[in-house]
Symmetry: C2
Subunit: 110 residues, 2 copies
């Protein structure tokens, strides 16, 4: 099956697909984080789902995993420069929500 | 189960969740479209999935459906002002893909 790529936006969608990845980027933009911290930040995410998101984001070059080689193990996740370059995308989403989010909440979620 | 909303960005994610909605907005930013046109634009989408996306986007106030009352039926979809207000979000995604998309393609998709 051939896939027609309508616009480059689809590439961005591929890398931030689903709410979790965007929220991982959001939290990692604040600071590096350990797995358990991220899981608390993203309340509702399972261990398995978070591990999968992080693996995919590592494969896409958005996230780096640093193992400090300590006992007990200490591993941190941080954004690569490529991951950090998504900040304007998140900022645009944030601005839209601030300006228009209330309309959405009242129209369909209220 | 309580849900902790970490940042307003989640509201934006709620309304553009999944690739299809963003691509519907992308195509409707070009021009109003009939259902069949949209289905062709979004090659790969099923009738059922597209219908569901459009219904949700109508409920969120992003999209309007106009029935021209003609026989054979002519129905067009268009963005509301609220839907159109997402243009900067799509523009940020588009710009990111133009600047960085090649890195993604070579790192994980190549």
């Amino acid at each position: 099956m051939t896939k027609q790529v309508g616009c480059p936006t689809e590439i961005t969608l591929d890398v931030i697909a689903g709410r979790w990845k965007v929220m991982v980027i959001f939290w990692l933009l604040q600071d590096n984080r350990r797995f358990n911290q991220l899981q608390r930040d993203l309340s509702g995410i399972t261990h398995r789902t978070l591990a999968k998101q992080l693996k995919e984001m590592e494969a896409d070059g958005l996230v780096e995993r640093e193992d400090f080689g300590e006992i007990p193990p200490r591993v941190e996740y941080r954004l690569t420069p490529l991951g950090r370059s998504l900040e304007p995308v998140l900022a645009a989403m944030h601005d839209w929500a601030i300006q228009h989010g209330a309309k959405i909440r009242s129209s369909s979620k209220g």
